[in-house]
Symmetry: C2
Subunit: 775 residues, 2 copies
């Protein structure tokens, strides 16, 4: 990863506090459209944000309530104002290890405000004879597309170790905006979104839980989660989130209902407490995560924003050669659909890992992760150019894993008797497939950390380079939530320890990401939202909202690609559970839904009748040098075009080659990466000249059918491309009912140029996909 | 370790439940003095215990309150009664790795009662259509000196995973006994004992906290801790405790104050809850720890009882050759007394391990664990035949470690700049001294577990074979207590992981032991009571109570040997803090207070004026093949005689020898173990013929001076011994005041035989010690 640092010059403008005590301090975005102002009113810090002179965030309070000592909310005086400047601008371009584009510009103006509670103005925790002032700084970074600010606590400082009881940061919205929100919760983000005016949040809050995940732990009947996407009546797209949440609890937002001022729409930060009720424990020198307010003039700008990534620290991993985007299949949907099980036997109502003897157990015959079935998936995945295969239910303990808050459920080491771990890895590697390890922790971070080193070592021993981890259930340590500071620390620990083992991590049920994948690109995915596994409970339009919300923090392992949408065809008890999407909607997701980790989640036998449509999943890339957000509206539709980062191979078949050193190498058709057998080789060792220029376009829609016109003006001028268009058939319909017809599609080919436009119809809950290849 | 299993034959006496439904089931101790009876009254289980026909425990309820399902307290029917018998007796003799005697007899009669809640009699958690009965068994083991019983939950069973809200086990005392107790607490056992009638507990409970430890978390104003020592008006010594507490919370006792029945003295089990409020989470098959009621006819019988050890499982470590008793000194009292510090600098009010740069720090000059000082201790310890030296404050983080509930305080790896870990170990090993590692966890089990493997590896790398761990402060995970099931699991995890590294553990502030050192003899010590560090706050007689209470579960690292009792002589601010003991009291402790880990805790310079008295500490052994409890009364005095387990070397000087393989070996003068340099060698490789028979006798008293007569009839008949008697001088006095004179002693020698008696006077808070050596 190279960084191009254009400028980083800081000038200090130390100004007498008195000079500014009564007038706001200002900061403008590079394009001068956004203006941040900061002021102290009677010692209380306030910030506000305008765009083009109109308020976006009205003057909003800042600060914290502390335990044991006086709060960080008032009695402040302004000590210093500092701009980092080269014409007040920081401007660099950096290259992510993987992403939606090859280069990302990080361009902002910065202001650092130093506030002080003078000695004696407040009480201190440690010493009644404290002689140091209490110092709190606020660092503002203003981008063209939004604001980030964080609190910093430098040393020397009267603050050393301090605990938050509440964060007071407010976000006073300037109007009763439309919002797409999920209810605030300490344990799950697995909710459908509710679209409403801000004023309607209290009335709709109860209903917003319908169909959601478990366990759920709401905290306030006006609480919502971030990223919170809003739209003003003026057509601005606002988004409140946070960036770089490390050693800190997750921020939710609570709408302050003020009966005296019913037309105020102010959110206040609501941090997830730890088991003892504290909302953050800090030690100076330190800072909070960034609180962010994105301000865009169109929906597509939101999708193009890199605000969250930019506010994170640069990559902390020196050698990133082992980090690869992955297209994969899984022995997984069989369990989700209840066709088969994670478990192996019915013999054990109670399992004690290390004591329960599976050698003597009678198999119940529905264990999906058995040798034969895994080989079947390996064969299919290899035949169709996938990189990897996830296998869940490979390890003992699943008979008694769920909802019991057992400290130790799994050891992450011991396979079931019918899962031959060494042999299956060998078989997979021979076919160019890596197996993806699965570590379901049953939310016992205590137990997972005890086994983690051994588990990662096992992975290294057999050549696993990626793990899907899971945190299903009530967190252990007891009384912690999924998003408290200690548990956020656990997720981070798991990532950083994995990096030492050169392991990529895809954590499910963990905290929703805040851009940390910039710093730790081995965090290749996360779930942290309602994914495909919710099946018929997913509302139309869900996947048109997630890129505005959940995906702002990092990629999601949404597990798309479900071609057989009628669950009742898989298991008789699930009659009537039909998913609200068409096959072309699923194809569209591979482009509209950015992830370096993309799954084809359905059974091989569900793809086999539709191999012509499946071809798009085989073809589409998972890493990009350019992404164009052509049209979008949250909750309605998205049309995206992307250009693969790496040259695409000429034909799918050429999967095997010879590396420079004479070793045999496997070339991933899906990701175009090269894997040596048995050792990894540098990508550069074997790369093919690319004769074709390739683009992929995808579109999805909500419950409304619609026609879109895709202008192909992003293609190379003067070059003719062949477009392969996967579109909903005229009679396709993704909404269960009499006309439900999710598997009807057409595949057409036509020659196009940069001057061409494609008119494409999407059915209700439908979508489309287009492959473009230069001739 | 050899075991002699005389008999283990079980006969099943399956009896029709109806036959016993209305009459108690009986079990007698091998000597037929104790009789246990069990019965169901209207489906509620009761047990009772008599001695010689008189009640010791009146009929007492048993059972549990469960979460989510009907309780295990009534609706029971008796399904089966099973005696394990050879004439109903189990009788084996086993050899502890270390202990008070070389062989321990485990001799009991056993009864297993199987109770059932029939299908439909109660509701089940998992399935309304549950077809299995709920089964709870109670296993009783009756010894001549007491009762142990535990609950067992076999499979198949309607119970699979279940949570306790309360344990209902009662201990209905038959009278208003005298008791020695400390207040119930989830976080500390560091209390002085209160001596009172049971009826006085409520009134004295508040005062019982005076001078105790921190943090303290009481739960009931009638709660007390175990082991609870009592004495009846008939002269029986009763003791309630528990044995083999694994994967279970610690049991406290709550005195039920029944205004309708003021003369009832019933305790009920009060388990330490986890952070979510549950008091135990079990998965079948499983069992609780043993609940124990010791019944002795004299105080010395209590000291001789092996009830708790016997109820634990046999040694789980195959090769125990690396486990050695240890006599040690420490760079420790300097910090306790505040002469010097654990910390290194005043530069850092806040420390962040991994970020804070100590290389640039200015030393404050009071760091005790510096190279020069450590070498001084090594020299002294080596010169006087000690095995080991503990050094606290060697690792970074102490500037900011205490009371802040920081998740990560220490990394257990990084020494202070002035502590040269490799060089000091090399220096120590050359002199036959092992350094004892120190791991203060600041009660963050989360952080300790993250570093544990690396920390143990560091110890292995440099030849540490023992660690003192500490759990000072509020437990992390937050809202857990020191004695909850998850935290008890942590202590156990630390022990078992240490065993893999051949590391002995001495855990301070951990849960008070319950005999687990039988199973894990690398658990060489524990604190878990008020130790020497409390200095002037320790009440007279404290050490005469601990062998009846705290030591019943396993040895304590009491850290005796404080010769300079006036703290004001060390630091001026501590004027008036004078410890209540004489030098001879301290000498007596090395015999009355059993521990395989004995410290000479004071400074070298405090021993130097008293080297003639210090000679006893040098001479006394720390492992025994025979222990005789000559006289004792809790809270008053103890006189004990012990015979070393291993032959004593002829002269202290012969510390260096040559092993069979030609390597140089160090012979510990204190423990008589042989250490090869650099590798351990078998003890058997180099053992000297022992020309002398040796005994040690020790005595201690409370605030009352007293004269004892020690009959030497335990000596070999017809053999003459030289007795060296260390006794309080006539004007010695251990109680601060005008006559305070703690350092006055006499050392006399005389020839004695088995027919001799020694009359020895002990001053107030005094004691004595005698070395006996055959001529």
């Amino acid at each position: 990863m190279k960084k191009t640092l254009f400028i980083l010059i800081c000038l200090t403008a130390s100004l007498l506090a008195t000079a500014f005590a009564n007038e706001p301090i200002k900061l403008q975005s590079p394009d001068k459209q956004l203006e941040l102002s900061f002021e102290l009113r009677d010692g209380v810090p306030y910030y506000a944000l305008n765009r083009a002179g109109k308020p976006v965030v009205l003057p909003s309070k800042m600060g914290f309530i502390l335990e044991w000592r006086d709060d960080l909310k008032d009695h402040f005086v302004l000590k210093e104002t500092k701009y980092s400047t080269f014409d007040s601008t920081f401007d660099e371009t950096w290259e992510p290890v993987w992403g939606e584009e090859a280069k990302i510009r990080n361009h902002y103006n910065e202001l650092l405000v130093t506030l002080e509670q003078p000695v004696g103005s407040v009480a201190s925790m440690d010493h009644s004879t404290e002689t140091r002032a209490t110092i709190m700084q606020v660092r503002f970074r203003l981008y063209d597309d939004g604001l980030g600010f964080r609190y910093e606590f430098p040393i020397p400082n009267a603050l050393a170790c301090f605990w938050f009881k509440e964060e007071l940061t407010e976000f006073a919205m300037a109007g009763n905006h439309k919002a797409w929100w999920i209810p605030g919760d300490y344990d799950t983000q697995e909710y459908n979104y509710t679209e409403s005016r801000l004023s309607e949040i209290p009335a709709l809050w109860e209903a917003s839980h319908e169909g959601g995940g478990w366990p759920w732990t709401p905290f306030s009947k006006t609480g919502v989660q971030t990223a919170l996407q809003m739209k003003t009546d003026d057509g601005l797209y606002l988004n409140i989130h946070e960036a770089a949440t490390v050693d800190f609890p997750t921020m939710h937002l609570d709408l302050i209902v003020d009966s005296l001022n019913p037309s105020s729409y102010t959110f206040r930060s609501w941090l997830c407490p730890d088991a003892a009720g504290y909302k953050g424990r800090l030690n100076t020198p330190c800072h909070t995560p960034w609180r962010t307010v994105m301000v865009c003039t169109s929906a597509t700008e939101v999708l193009a924003s890199r605000l969250i990534l930019n506010l994170n620290e640069p990559c902390a991993i020196e050698d990133v050669s082992w980090i690869h985007p992955v297209k994969y299949m899984g022995v997984w949907w069989e369990m989700i659909s209840d066709k088969n099980c994670w478990s192996y036997t019915n013999d054990f109502p109670s399992v004690q890992v290390g004591r329960t003897d599976y050698a003597k157990a009678t198999p119940h015959g529905r264990h999906a992760a058995n040798n034969d079935n895994v080989r079947r998936y390996i064969d299919f995945a290899a035949q169709h150019g996938f990189d990897a295969l996830l296998i869940e239910g490979w390890n003992i303990g699943w008979e008694d894993w769920y909802g019991k808050q057992k400290e130790c459920v799994f050891d992450f080491l011991t396979p079931y008797p019918d899962f031959d771990l060494p042999a299956l890895n060998k078989y997979a590697h021979q076919k160019g497939i890596r197996l993806i390890m699965h570590h379901e922790t049953s939310a016992s971070t205590v137990n997972y950390e005890r086994w983690m080193e051994k588990a990662y070592n096992l992975m290294n021993q057999y050549g696993y380079n990626a793990v899907k981890s899971g945190y299903v259930g009530t967190i252990i340590p007891y009384a912690e939530g999924h998003y408290s500071q200690p548990i956020n620390n656990h997720y981070h620990y798991a990532i950083t320890e994995a990096a030492k083992h050169r392991i990529m991590v895809n954590a499910h049920e963990a905290v929703r990401p805040t851009g940390l994948c910039r710093t730790w690109p081995n965090m290749i995915g996360n779930e942290s939202a309602m994914g495909t596994e919710f099946r018929g409970r997913i509302k139309p339009g869900h996947t048109t909202i997630l890129p505005f919300t959940r995906l702002q923090g990092g990629p999601m392992d949404y597990t798309p690609g479900i071609f057989e949408t009628d669950m009742g065809k898989i298991v008789s008890w699930d009659q009537g559970n039909r998913m609200q999407h068409t096959i072309c909607n699923q194809l569209g997701l591979y482009v509209t839904f950015y992830s370096p980790l993309q799954m084809a989640a359905d059974f091989p036998e569900h793809y086999e009748p539709f191999m012509d449509a499946f071809q798009f999943i085989k073809d589409v890339a998972v890493d990009w040098d350019k992404s164009l957000y052509l049209e979008a509206e949250p909750g309605a539709y998205i049309v995206t075009a992307r250009h693969p980062k790496l040259a695409t191979l000429n034909k799918a078949a050429e999967g095997i080659g010879t590396l420079k050193d004479g070793k045999k190498g496997v070339i991933s058709n899906a990701t175009k990466f090269v894997y040596a057998l048995p050792d990894d080789a540098s990508i550069e060792d074997l790369w093919h000249t690319e004769p074709h220029d390739v683009w992929y376009v995808g579109g999805i829609t909500d419950e409304n059918a619609r026609e879109v016109t895709v202008k192909l003006d992003f293609l190379k001028p003067g070059v003719t491309y062949e477009a392969t268009i996967y579109a909903d058939a005229d009679n396709a319909d993704g909404i269960p009912g009499e006309s439900y017809n999710p598997q009807a599609y057409t595949i057409t080919r036509q020659k196009v140029t940069a001057k061409s436009k494609l008119k494409i119809k999407m059915a209700r809950c439908g979508g489309f996909a287009v492959s473009l290849r230069s001739l």
